[in-house]
Subunit: 217 residues, 2 copies
Amino acid sequence: MGTSSAEAAFPPLFRLAAGLRLVLASHSPRRRQFLREWGLPFTLLAPSCDEPRPLPGEAPAAYACRAARAKVMAARAAEGRRPAGDRRLLLGADTIVALGADILGKPQSAEHAMAMLRRLSGATHEVISAVCLLGPDDEEVTFHDVSRVRFAAWPDAVLAAYVATHEPDDKAGAYAVQGQGAVLVEAVDGSWSTVVGLPVTPLATIMLQRGWMQPAG
Amino acid sequence: MGTSSAEAAFPPLFRLAAGLRLVLASHSPRRRQFLREWGLPFTLLAPSCDEPRPLPGEAPAAYACRAARAKVMAARAAEGRRPAGDRRLLLGADTIVALGADILGKPQSAEHAMAMLRRLSGATHEVISAVCLLGPDDEEVTFHDVSRVRFAAWPDAVLAAYVATHEPDDKAGAYAVQGQGAVLVEAVDGSWSTVVGLPVTPLATIMLQRGWMQPAG
């Protein structure tokens, strides 16, 4: 990892178990940032894989778990044959925005982003983040967390100004709660990090329980 | 304002009303960051003033409003006589952490931070952010917003590792939800920005309603 200002080192909050290496199967800058804030070293192995499509009638949470697992399995396939005794922990995640039974993906255009934001405005939707962990002996732990997000009701002019910032372009549901989109969100009921894209509290709990990391110090 | 990487310009989401200048009566880096994310230019005028102390029996929200107002009034006193026709909007804010009837301030030492975090661990507390606005004709708008924050139950070793990062040192309640402290917080019920220190959604709504700003574009 470089050490540009965006990747400044944090005093460690956790440390990995001795001999364990952490491999992140995600391109998301915010997921990397959470791990940096924990003080954990990691490498990236996120081969592009065909993102699974939701199946007819599949529950949003089940779909998110399946997508997180697909990222981890693509990384596992890419890592090839590991040396004997190699201890790695693969971490993949997927985040989806669900409005009722509809899953909102990334917008295809400014008009599409505007249409999504109009649907979210004045309403409550769910953000589901799923995490798949594959431990040193290929033991798998997959879990998900759900947060409810309530948008204030915004006039079109505000939504259009937000679309014009281009922040929505590559965001599921066409907004970023950790960015300029923060103002749109009246309230969250649940974990904020789940809305950002990584449920850090249950993730830390599981990693501590499994002995994959310890508190620093 | 400088233009270091931490102060990068954002594509504007809002713009101030013509002729209006915004003056922030706060030293908080996160409050500045929210205004930058809106794309609003502002200057700082935050003279050190004696922070008011909670009165016996005073409700936490009433105290937060009084403290926000005190910051604005200190800035108003410091600005001296304004030229005729000068149109400025003063903005002050205060954030407090309340556990039951107790208001938790900034920790005085590492031991004090540890004691606060032990009280918050496994419990739900309230974060109250109050904002005071003083418009061009000295018209005053003061409001507050309350969010409930639930900490997961953490062992002492995790809390001690967090104290050792020094992030708690200058934070009310000894944690920063937007920083390494994010992992401690299992759930928020309410506005995340209120927990960070500025209730951006009601603030934007009021500023739009009063005509102090408009959507950009």
